[in-house]
């Protein structure tokens, strides 16, 4: 018995040693890229770092939007053992930087000339107080509609350009007995549709006034009422079984020809590609009708946490690897997003990716590159979730459009 315990102890100490020594050269990465397309994209970075002799300690916490991941993070930071890098969105980065938990990447950034190549709208989130604290991995945009090309061709539906054409197209699909709009009834997915809808009603000016400046007149005004009315229109085109469905299952409905459209960010493209579909051949991509020229973006970034000096080198190497053009191209072609630096060639991207890169560039120049409300790039988490509450209540029929606009003003003022 004693020898058994002794052996176990010895083994445990050996294991602890191995784990300890591995930690020095490893990067521990907390993220929620767990669906097929996302996991494949992340493998690119894993392999890149492996080539430099840096190990990868994976810490996936499932849940789109990353709510569960943030809970894990809070526990880790509070206990004084933060991961090396954490996938993070928008204001969450500033919130953590404000707590003094993030590392200073200025040296790596200066070496890589990040200031010149990353769009200013993104830098607003990657920097805190003038210092780089996070590395943007990609730029997603949320005002996209994905369609099943074959189904539309069979029904003789053209790509809709205006909101009314979009509604007419969906009506046609519904009449044919198929599902017009594949949707997942989770608050963040409904809010993602809301991004595009608000933009289609009021344009970039109104979007900024409502979601960035949180102007009560805009939040409760007639244009917001109209936006909620459009959400109700959309609700009439979803199947009765939509509530609680994950976004990638909704995408699968479009892939399999059960549904015609999905309004979702371009991470949905990763699912199409993984199913062996080709852009603009098997599936179509177009901006939410009425929002051509505008881009509501969200950018996945790796926020770098303050780690001990022994882990510093690995962290810097990871930051550098993430920004390298070769990784940006390899990652974003798989993930469905576009690179976070504008000096990358679009040669290897598919038709939808080329479209997205051109639109991102022009939107950035015209000042119509707007942070997505649904993905925490317009407001901090508390306000974002307050808006979610109202949007989901409206979409599920608890508030009519007028009530929803009134409640939106109240909810936002309470959350500030």
């Amino acid at each position: 018995m004693r020898s058994y315990i002794g052996r176990t102890l010895k083994m445990a100490s050996v294991l602890a040693l191995v784990a300890g020594s591995a930690q020095a050269e490893d990067v521990e990465v907390l993220h929620w890229w767990t669906s097929g397309g996302e996991a494949a994209a992340l493998n690119v970075l894993k392999d890149d770092l492996q080539k430099e002799g840096i190990g990868w300690k994976d810490m996936p916490v499932a849940g789109g939007g990353g709510q569960s991941a943030m809970t894990v993070l809070r526990a880790r930071v509070t206990s004084g053992d933060p991961p090396t890098a954490v996938q993070m969105l928008g204001f969450d980065i500033s919130d953590w930087a404000q707590q003094g938990a993030l590392a200073d990447l200025d040296k790596v950034a200066a070496d890589g000339n990040w200031d010149a190549v990353v769009p200013a709208a993104l830098q607003k989130f990657s920097k805190y107080d003038g210092h780089w604290v996070a590395v943007p991995v990609n730029v997603h945009s949320t005002n996209w509609v994905w369609s099943n090309k074959k189904m539309l061709a069979d029904l003789g539906i053209e790509e809709p350009k205006t909101w009314d054409e979009f509604i007419a197209a969906m009506q046609k699909v519904k009449d044919s007995g198929k599902i017009a709009l594949a949707a997942g009834g989770q608050p963040w997915q409904e809010a993602t549709m809301f991004d595009g809808v608000v933009l289609s009603v009021g344009g970039p000016e109104f979007y900024k006034k409502a979601f960035v400046d949180l102007d009560p007149d805009a939040l409760g005004g007639p244009q917001m009422v109209e936006s909620f009315k459009r959400m109700e229109q959309l609700h009439s085109f979803v199947d009765p079984n939509f509530s609680g469905r994950d976004w990638n299952l909704a995408t699968a409905m479009v892939i399999n020809g059960e549904a015609a459209f999905q309004m979702m960010g371009d991470w949905a493209k990763g699912e199409f590609l993984r199913a062996g579909k080709e852009a603009e051949v098997d599936f179509g991509c177009f901006r939410t009708p009425g929002t051509a020229g505008d881009v509501t973006f969200n950018s996945d970034q790796f926020a770098m946490f303050k780690v001990g000096e022994d882990a510093q080198a690995a962290q810097d190497a990871m930051a550098k690897a993430v920004m390298s053009p070769s990784f940006q191209i390899a990652f974003n072609t798989v993930k469905g997003s576009v690179p976070s630096r504008t000096d990358v060639s679009d040669e290897e991207f598919d038709a939808c990716g080329k479209k997205a890169m051109a639109q991102l560039k022009s939107a950035s120049e015209n000042g119509t590159l707007l942070g997505s409300m649904a993905h925490g790039h317009a407001d901090p988490a508390s306000v974002k979730n307050a808006i979610y509450d109202v949007v989901t209540a409206n979409f599920n029929g608890d508030y009519d459009a007028e009530t929803a606009a009134k409640e939106l003003v109240k909810a936002v003022s309470l959350a500030q």
């Binding site: 943030m70 809070r74 009834g185």
Partner: protein, 297 residues
């Protein structure tokens, strides 16, 4: 001279050992239960957001809490859920226990069958019932395949009915356990009294109504206490079954507290809701426990 000292030491040791042995658990309970209750209470008066902060803001968080429609929904849902859950569990549990107490054959086999759901975690129960109740894959779909096309059971997808599906799943899980408690109570009743009553010509119905059920009072108390605290703290079941949806229709105070504290960066409001939950439980339980536990004296 030596002896009294020795015995003195011994008695003193005997006095002290229980206290020394209990000290660590008492200390940890003081810190991890009551200490954190005080800490949460303190946080509810601060402007804590993403991490705890110590700047006091008075009753502001409570004021905001009661302005929030989601909180109102959560409280109403808890009222519906807790009352139905406790009432139905006790009714089913008592009925099953009485039936099982009729000295029937196969009791040894039936008892564990009713009891087994309790061995599952609420997450498993929630996930299983989510699939069963989902109109696209569950009961409704199956009955459609069997040819009953008009059958419709979509409560879980409806904002107004979804909270009742939580009740169904919770009752399924807990009523067997309540049955076991009542069965133990029934077995503890003195047979002499029952025989005497039967001699006096009491009917079976009267026997139960006037003699047996009143004697089950301690079992009712334990069932109530256990079910009430399960209801108030139920979090995992809702998360697995509906995720708080459709919309926010099945939000309960526990899920509200979690989401405000940990995902919405509003720790102050979350703490305030936790304090309100504690106060509610205290308001119900303390008088009840006081009345019940005092009586025997």
């Amino acid at each position: 001279m030596a002896r009294p000292v020795q015995s003195d030491l011994r008695t003193r040791l005997q006095e002290w050992i229980p206290k020394i042995v209990l000290a660590p658990s008492v200390a940890s309970m003081l810190i991890f239960v009551y200490g954190f209750i005080v800490f949460t209470g303190y946080l509810s008066f601060t402007n804590s957001r993403i991490l705890p902060s110590f700047d006091l803001v008075g009753w502001h968080n409570y004021w905001r809490l009661f302005q929030l429609p989601t909180w109102t929904i959560a409280v109403q849902n808890l009222a519906i859920f807790a009352s139905l859950y406790i009432a139905i569990c006790i009714a089913i549990g008592l009925t099953l226990a009485i039936f099982l107490d009729q000295k029937i054959r196969g009791e040894g086999m039936l008892r564990p069958i009713f009891l087994y759901p309790m061995a599952l975690s609420f997450i498993v129960t929630g996930t299983a019932w989510k699939w069963l109740l989902d109109p696209g894959i569950g009961i409704e779909h199956t009955l459609h395949l069997w040819g009953w096309e008009s059958f419709h059971f979509g409560w879980i997808k409806s904002s107004s009915m979804a909270i009742y599906t939580v009740v169904i799943a919770a009752v399924w899980q807990s009523s067997g356990f309540v049955m076991a408690m009542f069965l133990a109570g029934l077995r503890g009743i003195d047979n002499e009294i029952l025989k005497a009553a039967q001699m006096d010509g009491a009917s079976n119905w009267n026997l139960y109504r006037r003699i047996i059920i009143p004697q089950l009072r301690p079992a009712f108390l334990s069932a109530f206490v256990i079910l009430a605290h399960l209801a108030v703290k139920s979090y995992d079941l809702v998360i697995a079954l509906t995720g708080g949806g459709p919309g926010r229709a099945t939000e309960l105070p526990a899920t509200f507290m979690y989401s405000y504290t940990f995902t919405r960066n509003e720790m102050g409001v979350g703490a305030a809701s936790a304090v309100i939950m504690l106060m509610t439980i205290a308001a119900i339980m303390i008088p009840y426990l006081y009345a019940e536990l005092k009586e025997p004296k």
